[in-house]
């Protein structure tokens, strides 16, 4: 099994940008979303998380945010309770020398079936995960699951510090897996895998292929199949 790389500084983990750093790009994303909407129909920002890639004078922010839209904009005629529509959006924002450019916006309603049946999942997905906020019994359970993981996948770590760090990453990942599970509309099951002790950034760097986002050279189009 591949051995995970050395621990990284906590602040370098993906999706863990400090709230202050997120503020400007998130406000810009919201402004872009609301552009052209009447005052009463503007969405409000819910939770947001993001990561940034910096190169030269530019920063590319990838944000995931929830936006709340209130369908009724006149409280005197609305039937109570007014249900809010929650949208899950991902934004890509380029910041070049303080000038923001929206490169991508992808919003969709959060599946109501999912949210109705599993309220906790939406709530747990939205806020930024605070590693210090795990309850006591969660830590105990996690330690036990982590020990099983270490045995199953034959993991060895260089030091106690690294083991502790990997446990923290593992615990966060279990929460992430739960969120992914809650937001999957198929039959997939998510949970412990051999990659469970890697941060999202490590996983992306080691196993994935960013070049695929580049434009590939066009080849001949295949002739379609008429008679299989």
């Amino acid at each position: 099994a591949p051995r995970p790389v050395k621990p990284r500084a906590a602040d370098s983990e993906a999706w863990e940008l400090a709230p202050l750093e997120l503020l400007e790009p998130a406000r810009f994303a919201l402004e872009m979303y609301n552009r052209g909407r009447a005052a009463g129909k503007r969405a409000m920002l819910g939770a947001v998380r993001g990561r940034v890639r910096r190169a030269g004078e530019g920063s590319l922010y990838s944000l995931e945010a929830t936006l709340e839209e209130t369908p009724c904009n006149d409280p005197t005629v609305c039937q109570l309770p007014v249900s809010k529509k929650t949208l899950l959006c991902s934004f890509e924002i380029l910041d070049e020398l303080g000038k923001h450019i929206l490169l991508r916006r992808d919003c969709g309603p959060v599946d109501t079936k999912v949210t109705d049946n599993r309220n906790w999942t939406l709530n747990s997905f939205l806020p930024l995960l605070n590693k210090d906020s795990f309850p006591q019994d969660f830590s105990v359970k996690m330690t036990s699951v982590f020990k099983e993981f270490v045995t199953t996948y034959n993991r060895t770590y260089d030091s106690k510090e690294e083991t502790q760090w990997r446990l923290t990453v593992f615990a966060r990942n279990m929460v992430r897996a739960q969120k992914i599970q809650a937001l999957d509309r198929g039959t997939a099951q998510y949970g412990v895998t051999k990659f469970s002790d890697l941060t999202e950034e490590e996983f992306h760097t080691i196993y994935l292929n960013p070049l695929l986002r580049e434009k590939h050279s066009k080849m001949h189009p295949a002739t379609s199949v008429n008679d299989p």
């Binding site: 899950l88 992808d106 599946d111 039959t187 996983f203 196993y207 292929n209 070049l211 695929l212 050279s217």
Partner: protein, 214 residues
């Protein structure tokens, strides 16, 4: 397209491989496709070398990533692929050790396939496994079942993993693509990933390609 198809059952797919700690999925996706194309033309299933591509395909970036389209060009210009046994996988880039005499498989061309998933299914059933690229959202924790992440979370614009579609079908009325991954058999369903079919899930239809063997 027929209602279901599985090239594994027809002997066109080699065992699941493991790319290790290296972003070489593009090489595995392409060799998997060429293995299938060669099998369909010649009737022999050969396990082909990804390491040859890591070392000798100078258009791509070995463990830092690559594009199937340029890998096909590299295979063409090199003159073909050696087998896994002759040019073993190391999981990191080395000097190119390609030997023309050891080439077992060649390709003549490569093609872009339709973005229409019904047409892709028809193509697959007739012509063989397809190299595709997807957004790998959630795959870090995938264990089994048919994945269908919310579209905003698995946007077709964030393609970052190349894999091989080897079949399709329905499980309890949910249509799926059977996808051969290159993370070993101790990941997913014996190394396979099942992704929802027909909804453009995770951009599965955005970069479908194949080699052509005449």
């Amino acid at each position: 397209a027929p209602p279901e198809w599985d090239w594994r059952k027809k002997g066109a797919v080699t065992k699941v491989k493991d790319q290790g700690m290296c972003g070489s999925c593009w090489a595995f996706s392409v060799t998997g496709n060429v293995e299938g194309q060669w099998f369909l033309k010649e009737g022999t299933l050969l396990s082909l070398s990804e390491q040859e591509l890591l070392d000798c395909d100078k258009m791509d970036k070995a463990c830092l990533g690559g594009l199937p389209s340029s890998a096909y060009m590299a295979i063409k210009s090199l003159g073909g692929l050696e087998t896994e046994d002759d040019y073993k996988y190391l999981g990191h880039m080395e000097a190119c050790n390609f030997s023309e005499e050891k080439v077992k498989v060649y390709i003549n061309d490569s093609v872009d396939l339709s973005q229409n998933e019904q047409k892709l299914a028809a193509w697959l059933a007739k012509k063989g496994p397809i190299s595709v690229a997807i957004n790998a959202f959630g795959m870090q924790f995938y264990r089994h079942g048919i994945a269908r992440p919310l579209r905003p979370l698995c946007s077709p614009w964030f393609i970052d993993h190349a894999v091989l579609i080897v079949g399709y079908g329905n499980r309890s009325d949910i249509p799926f693509w059977a996808i051969k991954n290159s993370w070993g058999t101790d990941w997913g369903e014996e190394g396979y990933y099942y992704l929802h079919r027909g909804s453009g899930a995770c951009g599965v239809n955005t970069m479908a390609t194949s080699a052509v063997v005449n």
